[in-house]
Symmetry: C2
Subunit: 401 residues, 2 copies
């Protein structure tokens, strides 16, 4: 093993990891369980939406042209020809100059093309005074105005939001084809690690990474599978990795933070597969390994939780997106203006934690290994490898947690 | 019942709904299940983090002052006094001019205050050439630099992110006190409604609202409980509401979209409680009811899914936040510049769907009852009640879905 890592750029790492990702097979879930799942197929409306022309207010169905010029002082007068009940057709046509009462959601009588809200009308005996003109289509949703039968209402690859669930319901899609949930094995290595419920002695640290990594994995729509803390021992690690790889769709090994440990992780991967990348020009997070073990992706994450988290956010998320079939990387970002100069080393992408408040981005300076700035920050800004820093006032993209 | 609704402002509605919300009791969950739960108590570090001064790189522990002036051409020479193993103290002090190898995560030897990365050093026999100066604290995390024992690492009311889970792990918090998950009963009323798996006849519509509302409720950290479609019949609705109210922490009735149906819902609520608000100056979503039934909050949502959704986003979310104890409303927003004029009616808050792309906000014009613009939009902008519209170039806050 060489002394120095042969680092690759962040974009190269993302490209490799995208190639590694194999989309999980599909399954069908009930619509009530489909929230936040990734849609596996385009869904089409099984009929016209709406299926009939309906009023969206309580009011009087009219021909819009008949209301031209109506006002509070000079209202138009419409004979009332009846009332529509919910779910039932009026059974009669509207002729020019007539009106029919229709409740919100009721079928618009034939002949009518707009509805005057009750707030703009006044019943006088069997006649209605209309005090405001309406335009063609006003207060009405026309037959198939929202979707026509056969239209795609929701595209494959979409992570289903409450609104998406709504259009699936409207389209009659109760059994929803979604991508299966990939299983991601999580191992931590390091002789210095102790379980979270143990109080660390000097030199020891708690296994924070298992929890951070598992939480991120879950947030990205995968199911974490814990394989615990494995000692820095070649046989133990090899056997734990074999076990995890046989049961999961991908394995993340965190730790192996020192050069010797990283080299051991890389050597074990090489026995059953390939180390594609060992070292990325990113700060924090340089000592990252991307490889293939048998036929599944295996990632060696930095041992320090703050570094591991940045690598997950910046790079490994694309693995999860690929596996879940999410067409969106799940990266949320906002643009805002930098409130202070930020310097950076040329030759590596720097991820600097920031707080965004009132459209102004304030960097949280301090060591990248600190957890407290990770928790206080709104997100990170990326300083490109070719840049030596960014000046106050620069419009930057903030990757929001 | 009067013909017109006595509308209140959106801010009044939010205030009322905040007063209605009763925080659910606490429970304890394991750290592996705590993601996205609301923390019920401040959590403090059970020890110093880190518990010892450690290196964050592979390198040579030194006294920083000894490296002053070191360069590639004129390196400083340090005798190597040994190696630190992971999890074990060096057992020796560093004196001025000496160095000790320390791996990433290893205990910094006493006397040292910085680490020179191996990339900036060169071993020559038993001596190390240092080619770059380091500052005090460089490449080191000091004892308790992240958190001191007893510091609050995570505050009550926070919705736990993966990073938060990480600091809880570091602080030894394996049993996490969180707010219990409120149960929210969901009823749909309307004789025109049919279940989603039924193909609607003319005049009928599918019960989209149950799914949209349940999904939103779930996204806000509550557990939806379905009570199905209830006919527009006073006895049936009364009995369904009694049942839901006896088992849930809040009930949302959607539908009752026409004036007659709304009045019936309001009348039933009054039998066992109070109607606090009947009508809000918001578009879409005016015919919303906020009340108390027995001692639990009850909400009458507009019948049209697109309107119901806007009311959930703009107003009812504060009920869920209050019940879950979330100190954040869960409202995500970005600031961006309006790409087109938008007009609005004075006297009501208008929620206009928009797409945000490259920092420019483009309104999606069209009827508020359409589902397709709800799905295509990035979010909504709010046009205040006192405004008649917003001009191109105005910096607006976009509530992002």
């Amino acid at each position: 093993m060489s002394l120095f890592l042969q680092v690759v750029s962040v974009s190269t790492a993302i490209e490799e990891i995208r190639n590694l990702a194999v989309r999980r097979g599909d399954e069908t879930v009930n619509l009530v369980d489909a929230l936040h799942r990734i849609l596996a197929e385009d869904i089409r409306a099984d009929g016209d939406i709406p299926g009939f022309t309906r009023s969206v207010v309580d009011g009087y169905a009219v021909r819009a042209a008949d209301t031209t010029g109506s006002s509070d002082t000079i209202p138009s007068i419409f004979p009332l020809r009846g009332r529509v009940s919910m779910g039932v057709s009026a059974g009669t046509h509207i002729k020019s100059g007539e009106c029919i009462y229709v409740p919100t959601g009721g079928i618009l009588p034939e002949g009518a093309d707009a509805v005057v809200m009750i707030e703009h009308a006044e019943p006088i005996g069997k006649e209605i005074l209309v005090k405001k003109p309406v335009a063609h289509g006003e207060n009405v949703l026309f037959f198939n105005e929202d979707f026509s039968s056969g239209d795609i209402v929701c595209k494959r690859g979409r992570r289903l939001s409450p609104q998406d669930i709504g259009v699936l319901a409207a389209a009659g899609c109760i059994d929803v084809p979604v991508v299966g949930i990939p299983k991601v094995g999580i191992l931590s290595t390091g002789n210095e690690l102790v379980p979270v419920n143990v109080r660390p002695l000097p030199g020891q640290v708690r296994d924070v990474n298992s929890f951070v990594v598992a939480s991120f994995v879950r947030e990205q729509g995968c199911a974490p599978v814990f394989y615990g803390i494995v000692p820095d021992d070649r046989e133990a690690l090899r056997s734990a990795l074999d076990n995890a790889a046989s049961k999961c769709d991908a394995v993340l090994i965190s730790g192996g933070s020192s050069k010797d440990d990283r080299d051991m992780v890389a050597a074990i991967i090489k026995e059953e597969g390939t180390v594609l990348i060992h070292g990325i020009a990113i700060s924090p997070g340089k000592p990252t390994i991307i490889g293939r073990y048998g036929n599944i992706p295996v990632i060696g994450l930095p041992g320090h939780p703050a570094s591991a988290f940045i690598v997950l956010v910046a790079i490994i998320r694309y693995l999860f997106a690929g596996m879940t079939g999410n067409t969106d990387s799940g990266l949320r970002s906002v643009q805002a203006s930098l409130g202070q100069n930020v310097s950076s080393s040329k030759g590596r992408e720097d991820y600097v934690r920031v707080v965004v408040r009132d459209g102004v981005v304030t960097p949280l300076f301090g060591k990248s290994g600190l957890l407290n700035t990770l928790v206080k920050s709104t997100g990170v800004i990326r300083i490109p490898a070719e840049s030596e820093g960014l000046e106050t006032g620069t419009l930057v993209e903030v990757i929001v947690w």
